[in-house]
């Protein structure tokens, strides 16, 4: 068997803790942002959440092995990576078109916000995680009963 360069399974708890903390800070960032408007105080919370905890949790969760990381799981990971890559490429081509449409209809401010979203590609790790975890859960449920 080939050696797999993944973190031990226990690291999932570290990733989950970082994810929960990141989500809590994101909520703390967005609630005052919506109610009171932009302030320097909420800016630092946003930086910790979006620039630190959420990308960190995504990296840890993506590169942590499952309890039994066998060849079926490796194949599942490969399929999930392929689907994520296709989505990413489609978004790369679609991005400028959507930007142009938004720029024409809603003004420059919205265009900048959309560029900001596309500029932080780490969120594609969450797309990969979502595809992988759902397929993993579905397959394990399907093959869990012994015949």
């Amino acid at each position: 068997m080939r050696k797999q360069h993944l973190l031990p399974h226990a690291w999932q708890w570290v990733g989950l803790a970082a994810l929960v903390a990141g989500i809590v800070l994101s909520i703390l960032f967005f609630v005052p942002f919506v109610i009171q408007g932009y302030t320097r105080k909420v800016d630092s919370i946003g930086t910790i959440a979006f620039g630190g905890l959420l990308p960190l949790s995504a990296i840890i969760l993506c590169f942590t092995r499952e309890r039994i990381e066998d060849e079926r799981i490796v194949e599942l990971r490969n399929k999930s990576i392929s689907i994520t890559a296709i989505i990413f490429v489609v978004l790369l081509f679609l991005g400028p078109v959507v930007n142009a449409i938004i720029a024409r209809t809603a003004g420059f401010e919205f265009l900048v916000k959309y560029n900001h979203i596309l500029g932080n590609e780490w969120w594609m790790l969450f797309v990969y995680l979502l595809i992988f975890k759902i397929s993993y859960w579905v397959q394990n449920k399907r093959y869990s009963h012994e015949e």
Partner: protein, 66 residues
Amino acid sequence: MKNNIRVERARQRMTQQELAELTGVSRQTINAIEQGKFNPSTVLALKMSLVFGIPVNDIFELEDGD
């Protein structure tokens, strides 16, 4: 690809869990292979051959269209 894993397991009175532990994969993977939903690698096929004590050809066989 067809396989006789279930028959061989029954012959040797072995559960999916036991076969999974002997070959180093999960029970779900053994189930997926038995159902023909997942094709094992050569390494895993050879491990099964060793566990059952029979040639790989007797466990796995090609179907028309493979």
